[in-house]
């Protein structure tokens, strides 16, 4: 058999299908590139400060006797209940940190691919559109879960360790699940929000402005309308407040505004659906000239 025939016969067999996770190299590169950005490492480690403060709070709450010289009585903010978790997960500063994280990590994730016309290279490889999106979402998910799920579980774990018993878990057996559920909601929402905006422009600076601007503008618009009309359903205008409403409900605490939290969850789901539809339309290997 000639070399020519031998080489050619290769493809007539079964095409190999790999069990390898196709999107993983995208995630790995995304994470690596994030750490190459200027000031990112500083920001990344600073972003864990709130979690460290809350962790210290758990320690202090279990060692009140040692801190009597500083703290009188049992302040409510040092009572480790689901409200403590709500205070961490739904505080405005924490959510703002997540937005900043998205600006650092996510603004260029798709925008740079569009800028460098890299999609045609991705889709000339054994990679589906869904793999591409999963790879990008996993990059964002890595950072978002590091700031939400991991601290949440560490709080539970350290509460048990410092207390030396399982009383806390017996009182709130659903709390770890609430941490998982809310962390996933935050991760999904911010990942889709960021990727959608990143897919709308090939300039990552414009995307960064959009990520920050829309989040902030939605809250400002709510503030303006609420001051004039005082209608609680205006809470649906604010991305931040919708996330806070859902968080408060999942941790079994009082809602920020007297509006059924299901509306907020429904709105977030609708926004995520819209985002996925936009991504599906925008992610294509070649620009189609009309």
């Amino acid at each position: 058999m000639s070399i020519r025939k031998k080489g050619y016969s290769h493809w007539e067999g079964q095409l190999k299908e790999s069990a390898f996770v196709a999107w993983f190299p995208l995630t790995r590169l995304g994470i690596k590139l994030a750490f190459q950005k200027r000031f990112f490492k500083l920001f990344f480690f600073s972003a864990f400060l709130p979690a460290l403060i809350f962790l210290a709070g758990i320690y202090v709450s279990e060692r009140m006797e040692d801190f009597r010289f500083m703290i009188q009585g049992q302040p409510s903010f040092l009572q480790i209940t689901p409200n403590y978790f709500k205070a961490y997960f739904t505080n405005s500063f924490f959510l703002f940190l997540l937005v900043l994280m998205m600006i650092f990590v996510g603004s260029g994730l798709i925008a740079d691919d569009l800028k460098f016309k890299a999609l045609q290279l991705y889709f000339a490889r054994p990679l589906r559109k869904v793999d591409y999106l999963l790879g990008k979402m996993a990059t964002l998910g890595f950072f978002l879960l590091l700031l939400s799920l991991i601290p949440g579980w560490i709080f539970v774990l350290f509460k048990l360790v410092f207390a030396g018993n399982f009383a806390f878990l017996r009182s709130y057996p659903w709390l770890p699940l609430a941490v998982v559920a809310y962390s996933l909601i935050l991760t999904l929402f911010f990942a889709i929000y960021t990727l959608t905006l990143s897919a709308l422009s090939s300039n990552s600076r414009h995307v960064a402005l959009m990520i920050f601007g829309i989040y902030l503008a939605s809250d400002i618009i709510f503030g303006i309308f609420y001051q004039n009309f005082h209608h609680p359903y205006l809470v649906l205008l604010s991305l931040k407040l919708n996330l806070q409403q859902v968080g408060a409900a999942l941790f079994g605490e009082k809602l920020f505004y007297p509006v059924p939290w299901g509306w907020s969850l429904l709105l977030l789901i609708m926004l995520m659906g819209l985002g996925l539809a936009i991504l599906n339309r925008r992610i294509r290997s070649v620009e189609v000239v009309k």
């Binding site: 080489g7 290769h10 493809w11 007539e12 590169l29 590139l33 016309k117 290279l121 990679l127 290997s285």
Partner: protein
């Protein structure tokens, strides 16, 4: 033998604009040149057979399977797009290893393969430089590297020689021929006939979104040879040369340009003319500065073939 690439009545429309119309073609192993002037539909054809565009009508099969929405096929396909598609902030080596990892190579395998291919394409010394600092030729070689690094059976190269220096061209042409001889299928698009001629005898001529002709390159060569060519010669004794050429049977016209050192001739027998020109250069002891063919491009040939000129 089954064709590697088979299209049936393939058409692509961009709104009202025709990209490709009713193309049925079978491509077998070896090197195939896709020739056509700019805007002929070559890139559209390549994007359709790489599954990056969905056909408006007809179908495309690669390795006997439909290519659209079938990314597993890309394990055996290498595609070099016409335009640059790099992450400028990565080094050439990082880019290539990453592209290989998307082909499911392990990190070690990817590094090994990347070093091998970069060495072959003379990029080894510059592999750690950021792509943003690469010259046009280096970018072109890197683009080719990502298309061939995973050892595909079908290689699709869209204008691969653009921006390469003569040495780089020769090397890439040699490599393309070698891949064809190994039994791989290489589809190379170009609007420069001599480039394709250097790689293969099998060509597909595409014009205005249609397959104009396909087969052996000698066919198009014959057509080209009957096409009246204009050849411009710059030398120190243009009038002596013109006087000698006017007597030649193969010369149709001789005319002067505003440049006092240039004469242009029109001929239908290019090869005969060049034989004569060589002799005249020696006989008249001409100091020739340049010999060019202002209309020696595919657009002129196509215009001639379809009767527009």
């Amino acid at each position: 033998m089954n064709p590697v690439v088979e299209t049936k009545n393939l058409s692509k429309y961009y709104g009202n604009v025709l990209g490709l119309s009713d193309v049925s073609v079978e491509i077998h192993p070896g090197v195939v040149g896709l020739l056509g002037p700019n805007g002929a539909g070559k890139s559209t054809f390549l994007k359709l057979i790489t599954g990056q565009l969905k056909p408006s009508l007809g179908q495309v099969c690669v390795f006997g399977q439909k290519i659209w929405n079938n990314p597993q096929l890309f394990a055996d396909i290498g595609y070099c797009p016409e335009t640059d598609a790099f992450f400028e902030d990565l080094s050439g080596w990082q880019f290539l290893t990453w592209m290989l990892q998307l082909h499911h190579f392990s990190a070690c395998q990817a590094e090994e393969k990347a070093n091998e291919v970069l060495g072959f394409l003379h990029l080894a010394e510059d592999k750690d430089r950021l792509i943003r600092s690469y010259s046009r030729g280096m970018r072109q070689r890197l683009k080719i590297a990502q298309a061939i690094a995973h050892d595909p059976q079908l290689i699709i190269l869209d204008e691969p020689l653009n921006g390469l220096d003569p040495l780089g061209r020769r090397k890439v042409i040699k490599y393309i021929r070698k891949m064809g001889e190994e039994g791989r299928t290489v589809i190379v698009s170009s609007h420069v006939l001599p480039e394709i001629e250097a790689m293969t005898k099998k060509i597909i001529l595409i014009h205005q979104g249609k397959i104009f002709a396909s087969g052996n390159i000698h066919y198009i060569r014959e057509l080209i040879d009957s096409h009246p060519h204009i050849i411009s010669i710059k030398c120190n004794q243009v009038r002596d040369l013109a006087a000698a050429l006017i007597k030649a049977e193969e010369v149709i016209k001789v005319f002067f340009t505003p440049d006092p050192q240039e004469v242009q001739i029109e001929t239908r027998q290019r090869d005969v003319f060049f034989d004569r020109l060589q002799k005249l250069i020696l006989e008249l002891d001409l100091n020739v500065e340049a010999i060019t063919s202002p209309d020696d491009n595919l657009q002129a040939v196509f215009d001639y073939l379809i009767g527009e000129k």
